[in-house]
Amino acid sequence: MIDVLVIGGGNAALCAALMAREAGASVLLLEASPKAWRGGNSQHTRNLRCMHDAPQDVLVEAYTEEEYWQDLLKVTGGATNEALARLVIRESSTCRPWMRSHGVHFQPSLSGALHTARTNAFFMGGGKALVNAYYRSAERLGVRVRYEAPVDRLELDEARFVAAWVGTERIEARSCVLAAGGFESNREWLREAWGLNERGEYPADNFLIRGTRFNTGTLLRFMQGAGADMIGDATQAHMVAIDARAPLYDGGICTRIDCVSLGVVVNREAQRFYDEGEDFWPKRYAIWGRLVAQQPGQVAWSIIDAKAVGRFMPPVFPGTQADSLHELAVMLGLEPSTFVQTLERYNAACRVGSFDHTALDDCHTEGLAPAKTHWARPLDTPPFYGYALRPGVTFTYLGLKVDARAAAHFGGRASDNLFVAGEMMAGNVLGKGYTAGVGMSIGTAFGRIAGTQAALAAIKEHSHAAA
């Protein structure tokens, strides 16, 4: 019998497999996807949010535990578990030498992402390079890896893991780590979670998935049915506004639209609905997915003029371009007179001071609802550009409740040999909101903990059997 069974094939699963193997356990890793798609959402990531008290290789200045914790507290609005959050934060300050030893390379912040130079360590080549490095290391260490092996259900003996079923195949192990991701690519579940809105729409039908197509939440649902303690709300997720032309799945980073704070955003009724200049874009991008999800038809349009060109990260698809606002409205399929009226009202309300996109500047609107509180400049310089936006789900937060040992819980009782890592438990730390790189911090910290605990549990079983 295998010691540790790891279910999942992304960052958290790999961290668990590597740690368990290093602790001397025999390890089998089951990845649901074919090899070409391995790595779950980790293949789309790019960095790790890291605590550090002094400058460290690719990280400048310091990012203390307290500051990290405050950032997390702010974005989650308190929907977090302080003890587990601090565990993740501390782990993020010490895990990188271990990551390097398994072939992960770090690099300074990418161009256009310099605001993260202090807080986030970037993976050279991005998350897929990290995933590749971990798989190579795992295979070198003797971890058995199977692709196209989706687990349908587990066999439990009360709170104890007994076996996993892949189709008709039963796989026994002494302990198990669940790291199979959220349920963001399960369309029916998303539809059910978001329900029917007051306009009679199923909003989730218009969501695009930025992440992997393989996160269908099969085991999350199984565990829910088996009476495991759950945490979080099924509508909470890392959700950003992305280009409406993005693919249904796996759009990843490049489909984001970064010009929101340089212009205005209107909905299908050609009305503005939120302060586009509330705060720096990296601090606000993660709320726009939900904002767009609340609009009629779950669609919105980011509108800029020529002044913004060259000031934001280039989008993957070209914008719709027109020489007048009226023409742009026609091309975008918005009611032209309302659109022009909205824009003219906005333009007239702008109080332009000294524009500075790198500071919370004094360009704002007066007498306009909703206001635009920074970077408000009239959209008056053709050509004008419009980008259609849709909510893009990266990963869902509904998960399994865990403790500091990453153990799954049933009716408040911790399992001896079933552990959880990654998106399946991220909701313990991240109940809502998002801040860059924190998903990988949680996955790495709890992946490593779960792997260690699973190896310990398996060794304990060995000694029981021997006694």
Binding site: S111, W281, P282
Partner: protein, 390 residues
């Protein structure tokens, strides 16, 4: 679709007499442009090589930009294996392959005389014909001058078969022509988008990057990819053996030429003489390097190459190998009756190599070096963009 939109815009702008039309892109260039648009919105690969930092200084990719990026690409494969948008993703991003296709086009486009640029497209045939012609030439000359290959006058004396002046007379024009043709070609590449004034720092960095093959280091120094996502320094090392081996052989010939004309010392030289030491070490390095590169080429991941260019890559490697092996064999068999045959073989290989220098794989070194120099100059100039996520 994107190109269609661009063309529509351009047509509209033209109608209003606002812009000068840009040169239309070929299908392969359009594909690089499409991929760069995706990469520029992602940028995860920025740390691997020079291509991506050069890309981030641009928002749009015109012909000259695409030519620069294509020639900066060393086909190390790092970005392919790390790419979240690589096939089977519907974006089908494969930068090394797209760049390789355009690279070949730039060689053809800038080739001089222009008519010979077509030779790049039929490399297998070109090399085979060049080699056959050069071999025939020397065999026929041998027959004409000596009455046959086995009629060599005295052991070890190849000038007795082909007088020194005859060899100089045959090789000098071909070599000088190769230099001229490559020089004109790379000058056109340079002038298609001049990067600005040259500084000592830029020249130093480009020279270092060329001679050390820095961009086959993967950005982290562990090397590049070949058959899968694992990194290896083998390609860099085999390429070093090939390049420096070639240069040692070249140095051997140059020193021997100086001996001949300045000092009046005639070949053959002893085993411990400078030309021999240079030639033997260079020849051995060239054999090891080309065999290694060939072995890596056989094992390369099918996506990490333009399969249509295999004949060019492998043909060039084979010709270098033949040059080195025949040179070493000539040295070893100099005292035997095989001297004549070996001499014809070696001279034929060298002549075919020289004749095809401006119209084959050799061009990659020239254009790559020019692209690296262009980039070293460009990166020292302030960017026109103020991109920020803030």
């Amino acid at each position: 679709m994107q190109q269609l939109e661009a063309l529509t815009r351009e047509a509209a702008a033209l109608g209003q007499g606002r812009v000068i039309p840009i040169r239309a892109l070929t299908a392969d260039e359009t594909e690089v442009g499409r991929q760069m648009q995706i990469c520029n919105a992602c940028r995860y690969c920025e740390g691997f090589c020079a291509v991506f930092p050069a890309m981030t200084r641009r928002l749009e990719f015109a012909k000259a930009d695409i030519h620069l990026l294509a020639n900066l690409c060393h086909n190390c494969g790092a970005c392919l294996h790390a790419c979240q948008y690589a096939p089977p993703h519907e974006f089908a991003v494969n930068v090394p392959q797209a760049m390789a296709k355009v690279r070949l086009q730039t060689y053809s486009e800038f080739a001089w005389p222009p008519a010979l640029g077509k030779l790049y497209q039929r490399q297998g045939l070109t090399l085979a014909l060049a080699l056959a012609a050069a071999l025939s030439l020397f065999l026929a000359l041998a027959a004409l001058l000596q009455g046959g290959l086995w009629q060599a006058p005295g052991p070890g004396s190849f000038y007795a078969i082909f007088p020194h002046n005859l060899m100089v007379g045959l090789f000098s024009p071909i070599f000088l022509f190769a230099l001229l043709a490559l020089g004109i070609g790379v000058r056109q590449f340079w002038r298609s988008a001049p990067p600005g004034p040259l500084s000592g720092a830029a020249a130093g960095e480009a020279t270092h990057d060329v001679l050390s093959l820095r961009h086959l280091g993967g950005g982290h120094g562990e090397g590049c990819n070949n058959e899968d996502d694992a990194f290896s320094l083998l390609r860099r090392r085999f390429h070093h053996l090939t390049f420096y081996g070639f240069m040692l052989c070249f140095a051997a010939t140059s020193v021997a030429t100086l001996y001949h004309y300045l000092l009046g010392w005639q070949a053959p030289y002893g085993y411990l003489s400078l030309p021999k030491l240079l030639g033997i070490s260079g020849g051995l390095a060239l054999v090891a390097g080309t065999l290694g590169l060939f072995w890596l080429n056989l094992r390369r991941h099918p996506l990490q190459q333009d399969l249509a260019q295999r004949p060019m890559d492998r043909g060039f490697i084979a010709l270098l190998l033949l040059t080195a092996v025949s040179g070493l064999a000539l040295m070893l068999l100099r005292q035997t009756s095989a001297l004549g045959l070996m001499l014809c073989l070696h001279l034929g290989a060298v002549m075919a190599l020289f004749a095809t220098l401006p119209y084959g794989k050799f061009a990659h070194g020239i254009y790559r070096s020019a692209a690296l120099l262009k980039w070293a100059i460009e990166k020292r100039q302030p960017s026109r963009l103020h991109l920020t996520e803030d």
